[in-house]
């Protein structure tokens, strides 16, 4: 139990996907302009990663490994993810038109959100068992959501700040992200 807890804490704070592994930067910059969208995107990502990781985990150990075709891993995983994203897109479209409109282009782009593929592959390469896979597939996107939300709050302030012209928009956001990474590196000792 303790190990699972430290795995989760490590994934959220210490080895945060965005700030220390640099994954999912595109939605991190793209959807972080308002905190409401950030939460919507974060939840969608948690849901997709959790579902996709479980399916890919089962596929790997029940199909790919017995048949000795582990090299098909990348192709199978990305197909599962693409299908899953399509599914969640239809779901959100049906139940929350406002969120659907707000997330816009970034929803289908969850397919190319590297966090999803990364978590699916990481569960295999780290040799996690089922419990660890479940914890990892919730904790990693939760870390993504946490940082995305914090960052979106900062960005709402940045919009009204007086920044040098060349740095307006994404560059200053990246500087801010760098400072956040610095702050998060202080968590390094806790696990």
């Amino acid at each position: 139990m303790m190990e699972l807890f430290s795995l989760a804490l490590g994934a959220v704070l210490v080895n945060n996907v965005v700030l220390s592994k640099f994954l999912g930067i595109c939605p991190f910059l793209g959807v972080s302009k308002s905190s409401k969208n950030a939460i919507g995107m974060g939840l969608a990502v948690i849901f997709v990663i959790f579902g996709a990781s479980l399916i890919t985990y089962a596929l790997y150990y029940l199909v790919l490994e017995p048949l000795n075709i582990e090299y098909m891993q990348l192709i199978t995983f990305i197909l599962v993810i693409a299908t899953f994203v399509q599914f969640i897109e239809m779901f959100i479209k049906k139940y929350s038109a406002g969120l659907y409109k707000a997330l816009g282009i970034y929803l289908p782009l969850i397919t190319t959100n590297c966090v999803v593929l990364f978590v699916a592959q990481d569960n295999i390469t780290q040799g996690y068992n089922l419990a660890e896979t479940i914890v990892n597939s919730i904790a990693v996107p939760a870390g993504f959501m946490l940082v995305l939300y914090l960052f979106s709050c900062l960005r709402e302030r940045l919009d009204s700040a007086d920044t040098p012209k060349a740095f307006k928009g994404n560059p200053i956001a990246l500087v801010t992200a760098g400072l956040m990474a610095l702050a998060f590196s202080a968590f390094a000792g806790i696990v």
Partner: protein, 212 residues
């Protein structure tokens, strides 16, 4: 066509201009070796995927084109991953998970969708080469700055044989002043932000010139 090719570097640089493929650009830009290796892999995948997508553009049904492109790209990346694993084991270890993640590099899917699915084979191949080199160019800029600031020198070894050093130098006078922070994630974000700002200025200047 030359204009298309040139655009990939400054005006429409995929990394600093369009903010695509940033994850790998931030993560593996710690050393020159990684940057060149990653750049070469992405360029290769990009050219091949553009050619294949352009070849099959007329027989691909519109509704399922994205899954088709993704399967094409994933197969190519699997190939490249195997080649790198077999011939460049050092590079394979240092690029690690990011090699497989080329599949979800937005530049590749983006070019397949925006360019190769509408243009002929030759033009698509040139576009892939230009964009790939633009990406490599961006990686080179970031990695040169980061490697120099963390080690006070630069080095490049033959990726096929890691014992063969192609060039390597350090400025000893600067060694006490290296900034290890630039090897960490903070440095990646800061370096990237400065280059992005620089490119924004360059772009604006180019646009102004055109307007005149």
């Amino acid at each position: 066509m030359w204009q298309n090719f040139k655009n990939g570097f400054i005006k429409e640089n995929p990394v600093f201009g369009l903010y695509l493929g940033m994850c790998s650009a931030l993560a593996i830009s710690t050393s020159l070796n990684n940057a060149i290796g990653m750049g070469a892999c992405v360029t290769l995948v990009l050219i091949c995927s553009n050619i294949i997508v352009s070849l099959i553009r007329k027989i691909t049904p519109d509704e399922i084109r994205i899954p088709v492109y993704i399967v094409v790209i994933a197969s190519l990346v699997t190939l490249v991953e195997m080649i790198v694993h077999a011939f460049m084991p050092e590079l394979y270890t240092s690029l690690g998970v990011f090699l497989g993640l080329i599949v979800v590099n937005c530049i590749i899917l983006g070019r397949a969708e925006a360019f190769a699915s509408k243009n002929g084979v030759g033009a698509s191949a040139i576009d892939g080469l230009g964009m790939g080199l633009g990406y490599t160019f961006a990686l080179l800029l970031i990695s040169v700055v980061r490697e120099f600031l963390t080690t006070a020198g630069l080095s490049f070894v033959n990726p096929f044989d890691s014992t063969q050093v192609i060039f390597s130098f350090t400025i000893e006078a600067l060694e006490p002043y290296t900034i290890s922070l630039f090897g960490a994630s903070v440095g990646a974000f800061l370096t990237f932000a400065c280059f992005a700002a620089l490119f924004a200025v360059l772009r604006e200047r180019a646009n102004k010139k055109e307007a005149k």
